[in-house]
């Protein structure tokens, strides 16, 4: 391999590390992505042009065509698709990567099986690539809705394990005998594809991001294996990076969802962790965590805080003031919306917020703040319920019908902090929590706000 190419690969590897590193911080993430992309481009161009092979022009044309076609399609899909469809897209692309690895393996298997080592790499590349490919497609289908229900396969566990064992056995046998045998090859391929499907099919849609991350990690490993095959450093290191980072990321995502990796993978067989009081008929609720909520507010221009009785119960008045202060220092425009009957006595919120020295000027009455929700980026509802319940507008049968409420629904995003899905004073459901703009930040107000503050401090 020419020195130039080596250096290029080295540089690409470094960009991968630096890029991933920068992707881990909101401020630098975009730059990180660009850096890694640049490195990748360099590696591709280098691979095509720097070598000492005699390559007929037609091959160059084919490569060029393939790259052109793939780039244009990839670009178009990525740019056109709606923001909400992003995760499924990632899954799709990931599947393509896996497929690519499999195809490489298939081609190489017919040519290059000189050593056990090579056979091992090729065979495992094919299997892993195939699993990723079919698994990713299933995940994609689940996310975009084409595969709606959780499909239960009878005797799933046994079938699953049988397929897995067969694959391993077949692969081992192929490595052992060494030679090229198309039958075995396609059998292996099919086995991988089936296993990928079996693996993802029983996992619920909400857990898909975790699965995608895991499959992504697998693609990385497939790439690394191919790298070993070609003794190609950039593939090796790049693939391993993605592989190990992907595993850690998967675990982090599970943690953020308060689950374990095994409960995700075998989740469909264990009990689901319902939130007490959640009402299925009103739709689903979206949970969030302190870190996400903090980032949302950090990048907002206008934030309105809606305190309610829960703030008093949690005695979180000091922390909420701290939150307001830190947001203000970050250039966010923060106000408190005080509903006249928030809390349990007239002026309850005033007493509370005066105690923590919140500037009186930041407390805005309902009638004055309601028109302002329209251009508010984030509303943070803390321990309030009835005073933001749209039933007061919509539901004549409700005991609060006719009561004026804070129109938080008009804001761009709504974060609601409370401990559970339990009702407030009036004892009624609140549709707001099921609103697609709403994210629930469960937990005691004091603890949740404290987390928010420390997340914000670290940004």
């Amino acid at each position: 391999m020419s020195v130039l190419l080596s250096v290029i690969y080295l540089i690409a590897t470094v960009t991968f590390v630096v890029g991933l590193n920068k992707l881990g911080h909101p401020e630098t993430a975009k730059k990180g992505n660009l850096i890694a992309a640049a490195g990748m481009g360099l590696a591709i161009i280098g691979t095509i042009f720097i070598h000492d092979l005699q390559v007929p022009i037609i091959i160059y044309i084919l490569i060029g065509a393939a790259i052109l076609i793939g780039s244009i399609i990839g670009w178009l899909i990525a740019v056109k698709v709606e923001m909400t469809k992003m995760p499924e897209l990632v899954s799709l692309f990931n599947g393509f990567g896996g497929a690519s690895a499999t195809l490489i393996g298939v081609v190489e298997f017919s040519k290059n099986v000189d050593s056990t080592m090579q056979a091992t790499t090729i065979v495992s590349g094919i299997v892993i690539g195939a699993i990723t490919f079919s698994g990713s497609l299933i995940a994609w289908g689940k996310l975009n809705g084409s595969l709606k229900s959780v499909i239960k396969i009878p005797q799933y566990n046994i079938v699953n394990n049988l397929v897995f064992i067969s694959i391993i056995a077949l692969a081992a046998y192929m490595v052992a005998i060494g030679g090229y045998n198309p039958l075995f090859l396609y059998g292996l391929l099919a086995g991988g594809l089936v296993y990928g499907i079996l693996f993802v099919l029983p996992i619920g849609g909400a857990d898909m991001p975790v699965v995608i991350s895991l499959l992504n990690s697998l693609t990385g490993i497939a790439a690394a294996i191919t790298g070993i095959l070609y003794d190609n450093m950039v593939m090796l290191v790049g693939g391993i990076l993605v592989g190990s980072a992907g595993i850690i990321l998967t675990i982090a995502m599970c943690k953020a969802m308060n689950r374990t990796l095994s409960s995700v993978i075998f989740g469909s067989f264990t009990a689901t962790n319902d939130i007490s009081g959640a009402n299925k008929s009103l739709g689903t609720i979206k949970k969030t965590n302190a870190s996400d909520a903090a980032i949302m507010m950090n990048y907002a221009s206008n934030v309105i805080i809606v305190p309610g009785y829960g703030l008093a119960v949690a005695q979180a008045q000091h922390v909420i003031h701290e939150l307001e202060e830190i947001l203000t220092t970050k250039g966010v425009n923060v106000k408190y919306a005080i509903h006249p009957v928030a809390g349990r006595m007239p002026g309850h919120m005033n007493v509370l917020l005066a105690e923590s020295n919140v500037d009186y000027g930041l407390l805005v009455e309902m009638d004055d703040i309601n028109p302002q929700f329209n251009n508010t980026d984030v509303v943070l509802v803390v321990g309030a319920n009835d005073v933001v319940n749209p039933a007061a507008h919509n539901d004549p049968a409700s005991p609060i019908y006719g009561m004026p409420i804070l129109d938080v629904e008009n804001a761009k995003h709504i974060v609601v902090n409370k401990r559970s899905m339990n009702a407030g004073y009036a004892g009624i459901e609140n549709e707001l929590f099921y609103n697609s703009k709403t994210a629930m930040l469960f937990g005691d107000a004091k603890a949740a706000l404290t987390d928010l503050v420390s997340e914000l401090k670290n940004m």
């Binding site: 119960v313 005695q315 349990r344 006595m345 007239p346 007493v351 609060i400 009036a426």
Partner: protein
Amino acid sequence: MKIGILKETQKGEKRVSLSPNISKQLIAKGFEIIVEEGAGEASSYKNSDYKDAGVLVEKRGVVFKDAHVLLKVNPFDEEDLKLVDKGQVLISQLYHKSNPKLIEAIASKGATAFSLDAMPRISRAQDMDVLSSQNNLAGYKAVILGAYEMTKIFPLMMTAAGTITPSKVLIYGVGVAGLQAIATAKRLGAVVEATDIRTETKEQAESLGAKFISVDNEGEESEGGYAKEASDDYALKQKEAVNKSLFQADLVVTTANIPGRKAPILITEEQVLQMKNGAVIIDLAAAQGGNCEVSKLNKTVVKNGVKVIGTTIAPESVSTNASELFAKNIYNFIIHLTENGAFKWDLEEEITDETLIVKNGKIRKN
């Protein structure tokens, strides 16, 4: 529709049922308003303020004659009723459960009467709920009055001349007034304890920084937000649980009421005799008979060094704010009862149904 504001006649009362500011808002909605001369004086509203708001200022007789709707803070009395005519609509606090005679008198006049204190305790009625708005101020002022009367200060102070221990404040009844009393005493730095028959008030009291004294409660349920009368057994248990705090307290504020009944006796004379020398009791339930056995309405009784002040005067003493809030309640109530400036009562509707005590001479509630 002409709305008449009457001057309050009860002794010590400083409030007025409608402020110039709110009158103006009603006029903007198409109502006409007449006010009795001098009605707003004690709340620092001059006749000229009313005039500037577009209100007619008239003699008492004229108001009674011209107005369709008559507003007062306190119950209409005999003098008032003499001037009331058939078809007039009276709005004020009537305390109809404890005032059957008054209700009959109104009915015999063939008039219609809404009682503001009968307002149901539901969220959407809160902006018409005068009990809430006035008791809230009462809770604040009761503590201020207590602090004024005491020979100790509220907060803990560690000074060069020694440490002053914080005053201990005990609140009976954690309703609207009780909660505000807790908040105010707490703000001033006192150590606050509170008790109530309704168990759900524990969390509420604690949310304001008070320690709640729980009394074993079997079956003393509340009804529609109000307390029921307590059993003797409960009363006994309550004394046991509270006595230790009571005998150490520097200030006691009692706010316990049961709608439509005499207020429960929560502190007996015997208990008062065991209290600290120099302690003060503010009995906000004095008008309903008092929560303390020895309290007398509008009097300060000193028993064994303990000052017992029976009062309702508290909200009146912050008449400026009290009148503003009362007026806003009335405003919301009138808007609720009317459509395009004319009455339109939906008797199926809870608020109208509960507050309409006498309709064209027929008694609906008692």
